[in-house]
Each structure stands twice: as C-alpha cells, then as structure tokens.
C-alpha cells in the first residue's frame, strides 16, 4: 500500500511584502469590515451577527464588524489541524510547513486528438477518480474532477459525483453545495467514516448568499471543517491593483471566518483563495498569468501572518488549450511560487483550458511537476552523513568514483526526484529506439496502466448500500420539490 505524504518545507517562505506592507493591507481590511461592510443575503445571518455586536442594516443587508470581534475570531481559528480520511494513511495535517497538492477540476473531458472538450461518460469519470487516487503527489481532491458526466440530471450532479468519489477513492477532498445537495453529501461522508471540507463560496464583491451560509452551518453542525472561498477577478470584482484586491478579498473571507468562529469557536477552517486577473479583452478570468502567481504569494504571506491555513486554488488553472509548452510553464511557475511562498495546499492536477476541461493524462504529467516542486521545498539535509567527508577521503581522486558505494545506494533516490513520464533517454538514438515518445505519449501509457491496475480501498457492503439509499433519498427529496 502506497502512502501519500505532503512535502515539508525546510526554509522560510518567500515574502513579497515588508512588515509595513502587511500592516497597511490589514488596516484596509479592517476598515472595509468596519466602515464599508459586507452584504449577507440571509435573514438568519443578519440576526445572528446582530446578536454578536455587529452593526446590521436589515434593509440593505449590510453587516459592519467591530475590530475587536474580528481580531478575536482570527485568534480563535486553529493554526493547524488534522483532516481525517477513512483510511489513516490518507489523513492530512495542515500546519505551517507542510505543502499538499490537490486536483484541479475542469468542466468536461478533453479529447486528446482534437482538443475539443466534451462531457465525460460515467466510466471516464470513475477512471479519472481512480487515477487521482493513485497519483503519489496528489493528496486531495476538489469537489469534482469533472463538473458532471453524461446522463446525470443537473439537480443530482453533486450527490452522484460525490458518491463516485467516496466509492473509488479514499482521498480527502473539498465538498460542494447546491440546492441542498450538502445534506446528502454529509450523510454519505458520515456513512463511509471520512471527513469532508465544505466549500463556502462568496459572490464578490463583498457579498455572501444564503446557500453558502447554509453549507457553513450544516458542515459545522456535522463537525466537518469548512473552507470559505474567494473568487475575485482583479479589475472586475476587485480592484485591479493587487494590494487593493488582497485587502478586499481578505475582508470578505474574514467576515465569513467571524461567522464560523461565532457559531463554533475554534472550528477548523481552511481559507481558499481563488483569485485571477481579468482578461481585459474577453472578460474571462486570465488564468495562468503572472498576476495570479503574485496574488498567490501575497495571500500566502498574509494568511501565514494571520496564522490560519490556506489553499492556493488558482495555480493549476491555465489558459493553454492543449498540454503544451504554455501549459507546462504556466503550471510550473504558478505551482512553485505558491509552494515556496507558504501555501498549505496547491490546487494543481489535471485541469486545462481554464476551468473548462481536464484530463487524467494531464494530471499524470502534473504529478511529475508536483513531485519536482515537492523535492525542491524539502531542501537539503546538511549533517555528518550527507556531508560525506569520510567517503570523499575514501574515494579520493580520479579514477575513484562514488557509483558503487553504499552511501550512494542509500541516498540517491532521496536526493533525486524521478519523474514518471518525462523523457529521460540519454541520446537521440536511444529516444528513437524507445519510439520517439513525448511526455504526453508516456503519460497516456501510464494513465492506461493505472486505470487497468490500480485498486482503491473498497467500501464494505453496508457502506455501498447506505450510499445508494442516500442517493435515492436525494432523488425523492428533489422530486417532492418538483426539481427532478
């Protein structure tokens, strides 16, 4: 059984901001919370926050937060916590110095011949979940990996997708909400004895809607961690300047953090930062741009300063339409900057063409990038054994060598990273003999092999039955409401 583990960063994270910059951004965040206020389109939230000394205007649904309350709730939020999977080997511990990688979803599957996205079949959905379960450097899943598959009614998408994930992977993941789907997803998670992290998505600028707040309440009641999630595009739903957008987004997320911590002090909360510049020609998010990379670095620094775990959600999302040079550099630059600047999770594997498509072959290639980044942040051990002075004395000068030494045998796999699907043939002739394969060819072969051979930890019969029963309950629930 293979154990997945996060990567421990052994050096201080990269900082783009001075201490004065951090304080200035935080001061603007507090000002927004105190004076501009945040809109909560939820009667329950307005009443609840009013009872806890927030200034609430019921008419325009704006809540203003006193500074003392904000600071207190930030302090109460755990700086590290364990996220428990159904198999202990898949548990994830969020703490300052460990970096995990997460799958990044796409709406459709990408046809690797034409590069046209199309809805996946159910079997393709299952296969992708199995591939993710296998990949050693993919530690968590998003709420998908595709936004559905053929033939599933829209209203049943979320419960059906999560049922497949619970069955074909023991990995932990984020969990969605939509039209009360979270009621059934929470029941499924409890049935298979795993935790989920409930995503709570905001509607920028400065607004939360009722369905997001219901998701927070339901997950907190079930004892599951929650993930308030931002979604600003700079220049559209936030200032085009990074400093202003960071201050505004942090105000949005902190307002939800206050609500969560007031509901249950000390509740496990992971901040999800999904931030990209706007493409000023098309109006679409400009995934893969340096603005996104820089924003990740800024958020990582700010939330480490708040001492609260966070996920950089945008590094894996790229504008490239095919797995090519652009997809490689966009993913690599975004991924490494996020990891070295202090993210606890980097959302990374599988997606291509923004959020519009994904493919397991891309995920297999991305797993190599994640592994290389992980190797880098684990840094260099300097001790008597790794300094190897005795060995250097022993080998001496040429023609001496290190190849056959026990020290080499023990250390080389720890020092180097061995990619699964990169071309590592030595010469042109070797490459010809091996079939002139590109990394995409190699990744296709590896993906096929994983699908054919990987067996995720199975559910027991009772768990399988319970999941089917819960799905049927969901169907009846939506039928009663005329939604199915």
């Amino acid at each position: 059984m293979m154990f997945k583990k996060g990567f421990k960063r052994i050096f201080k994270p990269l900082k783009l901001l001075s201490e004065e910059d951090v304080n200035a951004i935080h001061a603007v965040t507090l000002d927004i919370l105190r004076n501009t206020g945040i809109k909560f389109v939820s009667k329950w939230a307005l009443n609840f926050l009013k009872k806890h000394d927030c200034i609430v205007n019921d008419e325009d649904q704006i809540v203003k937060f006193p500074e003392g309350l904000v600071e207190e709730c930030i302090r109460k939020t755990p700086s590290s916590f364990r996220f428990k999977a159904r198999a202990e080997k898949d548990d994830v511990i969020f703490c300052k110095d460990v970096v995990y990688f997460q799958e990044a979803p796409g709406m459709h599957i990408l046809d690797l011949e034409t590069f046209k996205p199309r809805p996946p079949t159910k079997q393709e959905y299952i296969d992708y979940v199995k591939v993710l379960d296998y990949l050693p450097n993919c530690h968590l899943t998003s709420p998908y990996p595709y936004f559905g598959y053929e033939e599933v009614p829209a209203i049943m998408l979320m419960p059906e997708l999560m049922a497949i994930k619970f069955k074909y992977s023991s990995m932990l993941g984020l969990s969605p909400y939509q039209s009360d789907a979270e009621i059934f997803i929470i029941q499924m998670a409890q049935t298979v004895s795993t935790e989920i992290c409930g995503v709570i998505s905001q509607a920028p600028p400065l607004t939360w809607f009722d369905n997001a707040i219901m998701q927070a309440r339901r997950c907190i009641e079930a004892g599951f961690p929650v993930g308030p999630c931002s979604g600003t595009t700079f220049g559209a739903t936030g200032p085009v300047t990074l400093a202003g957008t960071v201050a505004k987004t942090n105000a949005e997320l902190i307002s939800m953090l206050v609500l969560v911590q007031l509901l249950k002090p000390g509740h496990r909360t992971l901040m999800l930062l999904f931030e990209v510049p706007q493409n000023m020609r098309t109006g679409a998010p400009a995934f893969g741009q340096i603005g996104s990379t820089m924003a990740n670095a800024l958020y990582n620094q700010m939330w480490r300063w708040y001492n609260i775990p966070l996920e950089a959600c945008s590094p894996g999302f790229i504008n490239a339409k095919t797995p090519d040079f652009q997809s490689g550099y966009e993913k690599a630059i975004n991924g490494i900057i996020s990891a070295v600047s202090g993210a606890n999770i980097v959302q990374f594997h599988g997606c291509i063409m923004g959020e519009l498509s994904a493919h397991p072959v891309q995920a297999v290639m991305d797993d190599d990038i994640a592994g290389m980044i992980g190797r880098f942040i684990e840094g260099v051990d300097v001790n008597e054994e790794t300094l190897a002075l005795d060995l250097i004395h022993e080998v001496g000068q040429s023609p001496g060598h290190y190849l056959g030494k026990p020290h080499t045998a023990k250390w080389w796999k720890l020092e180097q990273f061995i990619p699964k699907v990169a071309d590592r043939t030595a010469t042109y002739d070797d490459w010809l003999k091996k079939g002139k394969k590109s990394s995409i060819d190699l990744a296709k072969e590896k993906t096929k092999e994983i699908i054919q051979t990987h067996n995720p930890i199975p559910l027991n019969d009772k768990q399988e039955e319970d999941i089917q029963r819960i799905l049927e309950d969901a169907r009846q629930y939506y039928k009663k409401r005329g939604m199915l």
Binding site: M107, F147, A154
Partner: protein
Amino acid sequence: MNIQKIEEIRSNVSNDPLIKLKRALITYDQELAKNTLEDIIRQKIDSFVALSSMIEVMKLIGDAFEREELFLPDLVGSGETMLSVMPILQDEIKKAGKEKRNLGKVILGTVRGDVHSIGKTMVGTLLTANGFEVFDLGVDVSAGKFLEAIKKYDPDIIAMSALLTTTALEQKIIIDTLSKEGLRKHIKVMVGGGAITEEFAMDIGADGYESTAPAAVGLAKKLLQIE
C-alpha cells in the same frame, strides 16, 4: 484610424459642450458628462444632437475594441458614463415631445441558482450604450420571474447568463416555459456565461450564443436584423 480620432477628442480642451461631452465619455468622467449635459440643456442645444455625439463616441470606441486597440475597461467605462446621463437626456427628449427610438427591448438576467452578475451586467451596460432598452432582472432569476417580466415589458430579446454547469440547464427550462406559454416565436433568446457553449445553446433551442459581452451586442443586432 479610430484610435487616432479618440486621442484627438481626449486631448481637445475646447469648451464646446458637445466636444466636452465626447471627452467625458472617453475619459469615463461621469461628473464632467453630467455638468456638460446640463450646459447643453441651458444652451438649448437639441437633445438629439447630444445623443448623436455620444453614440458617435461609443461607435468609435466599439470599433477600436474590435481592432484590438482598446480593452474592456474602455468599453465599460465609456458605456457607464453614457448610462449615467441618459435619464437626464431622456427627460429632455420627453419634454420636447419627441421620442427616443430604441434598437429593441432586452430582458436580461442570471438564471435561478446562479448569483454571478459581472458578465451579465457588462452585457447590459454595452447593450444600453449601443441603443437597446434593457431591463436587468438581476441574479437568481426563475422562469416565473422571466415570464412576469416578459408580460410586463414585451421584449424583443431575452438574454440569459449561467456561469455554473449545474445552472446552465435552467436556461432550457426557461426556453421550454416560453414555448409552453406560446411566447417563444415572438421573442429571440440569447444565452451566455462560463458554462455555455455554442453547441449547448443550439441544443437547448436558443437563437444565439456569444462568449463575450462586446460580442453579445453584435448578436443582439444580428437577431433583430439591425444594420
């Protein structure tokens, strides 16, 4: 070159109120637009002449955008400046006993279950700035609300947005409702949003799809056979 004409207007410091009005649009200066329009009214300059000046600028900016010389902030900034003074201008046109001719009426909304508004709002701004009369129903709009608005405003087009895959199918429900109510053949339906593709739009029976807000203006004109 349109961009040269735009730069000429930007750098023209003449006190001629019609030039100032054009400059206000190009520099997104809503206060200058309002003060200048009030001057125009005081000087009894024909309101339609003021309106034509603004439409001329919007066309220059639109063409420059098409040529990739300008960007979305230019389109939206000038569009919003024009919209900010339209109520004053419309009052004047009414007082003069005239009627402003619209290119068509559009009902606009993000469908039920979806609260994303920015793309939809951009479409509304650009349609209005290009001469359409737009009724923006907001976000999370159900089929019932669309139906109510159709009965109230008698639109030529309904334009629906959905960013989420899970809400994209809501557009089909609305189109089916229009058919059931016997309203479909009188109204053109255009759809857009992150979760929509041309293929999907055709599958659900829409008349047209575009992927960007500026292109939506061209689509609306095409559907109503304008220009």
